[in-house]
Every structure is written in C-alpha cells, then in structure tokens.
Symmetry: C2
Subunit: 163 residues, 2 copies
C-alpha cells in the first residue's frame, strides 16, 4: 500500500532524536524506546542495523548508547530507510534479483521505476536534520521554510512513558 513499515518509522524517530539531542551524548536504545513508547527489542534491532550501516556509532558498556556517525545534515531519510528495509522498489515484481513470472509481460514496470526513482530522489534530499520540526533552516537547495506556528510542537512533558 505504498507505506513505510513501522521499523522505518522507528528508525527515523530515533535518528531524528539523536540529531536533535546530539549535545547530550550517547543515548541508549532502552532510553530511546521508553521515550517514544517503542518496544525495546524492536528498536534495539533497528539501531543495531543503523550502526552496522555506519549511520550511527555505538558505545558499549555502562552509560553507553548511540550517537549519529555523521552530521545530521548529511544523512538522508533514504539512507536511514534503506539501512533498515533494504533497497526499496515500488514495483512488487522487484527488478533486482529475479524477475517475476510476468517479467516478459510486465509492461508497467519500467514506467513505474521512474516513479520509484523520483521517490528515492525526494527521500534522498530530505535530511534527518530537516526531520526535526523546527527546521527553519534553509539549505542551499532553496525554499522550504517552516513557520513555527504551523508546526505541532510535541513536547516531551516529563511523564513516564510505557510502563
């Protein structure tokens, strides 16, 4: 249905958090999960993948956790999503490994791949820096201003999440 999985959502949330709170040092998977009400084990696996893909660096031991490996302005949403879900194709008869049974007859795959490329393009131009909601920052690409009052400021208000 043309949607991202929850894993990708979780990953983006995590990366975004790390981008916004980079100054606070490493953040453990457990903390991230509790902060956003995400099952710990699920998120743990996701950030592990992100670390394996060199998007995050992990720090083991007490007070360890994860930190962004690069500048959030240089990490695209596409990279995050791909690290978690693998290469994305819009067509179900994916063109990568093997052709589907209709391969020779599938007449729409090629036009749809152009759509796919366009989507990748959009996602590759969206940096995790811009995922933070106060992204009034305007990179050289131009445009993309966000008025503060248009945004839904979702404030973490101290309470206990999850259990």
């Amino acid at each position: 249905m043309l949607k991202l999985t929850k894993k990708a959502d979780y990953g983006l949330i995590a990366v975004r958090h790390l981008a916004e709170h980079a100054d606070l040092g490493a953040c453990s998977a457990k903390d991230l999960a509790e902060m956003y009400g995400i099952p710990q084990e699920a998120l743990a696996k996701i950030v592990q993948r992100l670390a394996r893909s060199k998007l995050l660096t992990s720090q083991q031991g007490t007070n360890g956790g994860y930190v962004l490996a690069r500048d959030p302005r240089e990490i695209s949403a596409l990279e995050v999503i791909r690290a978690i879900e693998g290469p994305l194709f819009i067509t179900s008869c994916n063109s990568s490994t093997k052709a589907c049974s209709q391969s020779s007859k599938c007449t729409v795959r090629e036009p749809l791949q152009k759509v796919s490329r366009t989507i990748e393009d959009v996602l590759s131009k969206l940096t995790v820096w811009e995922l933070r909601e106060g992204s009034e920052e305007a990179p050289a690409a131009g445009g993309h201003l966000v008025r503060e009052d248009e945004l839904v400021r979702i404030e973490v208000s101290g309470g206990n999440y999850g259990k």
Copy 2:
C-alpha cells in the same frame, strides 16, 4: 518497504492494456489474465473494483469484457492505485482513522506526510496513456514527471494530523 502490492501492479497492467488496445473493443478479465499470466480470479476482482470506481465500464454477457471509461490521457496512475488499494499513506501510523499509540510522540509523521504528498503528486501526473510503451512519451515539455526543483520544495501545509 514502500512498494505497491501486486494487486496494484495487476490493475495497472490491465488498464494499460486497455489503453493500448482500446480499438479492439471489450476485453474480458479472463483474456487479460491469460495474456499477462495473472491468476484469473485475482484479476477479476481487481477489474471489478476498477469498474465500480468508474474507471472501467463492464459489459456482461458473451463477448463482454471491460473498456476504459475515460480517455487514457485523463486517467492517472494514482486513480487506479487508489481504486484498488484505497487511500495510500506513507506513514504506518496512518493519519486517517486512528492515531497510533505513539501519536503524541511521533515526531516524524508530519515531515513524512509531505513526502507522501509529493509521491501522490507524481502518481497523479502519470497517466495511463503514458504507461503504454515504456517512456519516451513526453506530453508537456520539460519532462512529464515532477521537475527536480519542484520536488525539493516540500511545502508545509498546515495539514491534517490525526483526526
């Protein structure tokens, strides 16, 4: 994984075929299915939905079948996909019916909905006419997909959060 379901693929293939062979009169679901190696019953349901959505007209009885209801240049891929799969959301915590458990904490949904809109935009500009014969069909000068700079401009549109 950000991909269309097979149903949508099938539907696009069928619609495309009807667009290309409009002169041959009605085409039955069975013929379509055999032609492209699609399970008959699966395709039958799909074209039924397309007919219900007024994208195709059905002709019952012997030598019946389906015909495009409108000019293929006026039917967008988005219409076809939506008729088959319903409204599409890129976020898994879809904003339509109910908010997900992380609703109040989901910090990336809004930026991603902008991406979603862009995708819909691309798909709404891709007509089934353009699906025929690969690609070099450029109706409007400057490429029929969204222009690059148009894509970067991801506009904040006040927008619908939750309901």
